[in-house]
Symmetry: C2
Subunit: 166 residues, 2 copies
């Protein structure tokens, strides 16, 4: 299915019933080693998460904050593709680099005035294609306004946590 067909189909489905706009995504995790975690997501895919040796792990896989940056970088790339289709902007290539600064004093509780997460993130986007720079700037503005994971980074998301003792 072309992205234009996906966009038109979604518009029609949501117009028919706004409840069709509601999606729930899921992931399940088990700690299986010192820092190794097995993961299964709602679409059925499985993968693992681990920490590097310097953090006590076996470096069997990316760690959680690398997956978080990768969620952002890949969401940007896909949102460029969708919004280029929506705006009728020809786009030949998308390359995204993400860097995140993290002060480990937060995670380790060495200084509780330091946040445990990223203090700053830099996104470098490189586009290739035949359109004017102005068109790609217009595209980038549209992407940044509609990218789900950029929204997650840039705004507060309410998280409710419950705890069960087995």
């Amino acid at each position: 299915m072309s992205l234009t067909a996906v966009i038109e189909g979604t518009n029609a489905a949501v117009a028919a019933d706004p409840k069709n706009a509601h999606a729930v995504f899921r992931s399940h995790h088990d700690l299986v080693g010192v820092t190794e975690v097995t993961t299964q997501v709602g679409s059925g895919h499985r993968f693992i998460v681990d920490e590097p040796e310097v953090l006590g792990g076996g470096n069997a896989a990316p760690n959680p904050v690398e997956y978080a940056l990768a969620a952002l970088g890949s969401c940007q790339a896909i949102t460029y593709q969708f919004w280029a289709a929506k705006l009728g902007i020809a786009l030949d290539s998308v390359h995204v680099e993400v860097e995140g600064d993290l002060d480990v004093r937060g995670f380790f509780g060495i200084d509780d005035s330091v946040r445990p997460g990223f203090g700053a993130v830099r996104l470098h986007v490189q586009l290739g294609g035949p359109e004017s720079s102005a068109r790609y700037e217009e595209l980038a503005e549209a992407v940044d306004a509609h990218c789900p994971v950029l929204d997650l980074f840039s705004n507060v998301t309410p998280v409710h946590r419950d705890l069960t003792i087995a």
Copy 2:
């Protein structure tokens, strides 16, 4: 290296020079299909990201918002392991489930009053072990105060984006 040794080593390294607390994480991405994205993170690991067929992809891998939820769930699991070691709390098992509600009207630009990211996230944590419930509640409070990806979800992270036209 045991987690206790990692914790003590990090404390000593940061006491010797606070600059040792600064870490930079990275990821690089190329769009290689309709929605398929190749990813390489700073630790050297490579993986792919894709969208399901209903969103125009080939469902070759989890999509960006699934990776974002998995970053949260796995970060919780690993932070439980670290903080149990730090607080001297015996912990036999950690299972984490994450659910995120997403209204697709935001991503598709059908209604710009709807945020493109998750409107709400639910974290279900299940712990097993010999300690009292009060000790595990204490652990959960410490984890929630120090988990890097929970901080990313719960607070604003500054993101700077630049754009290059090739």
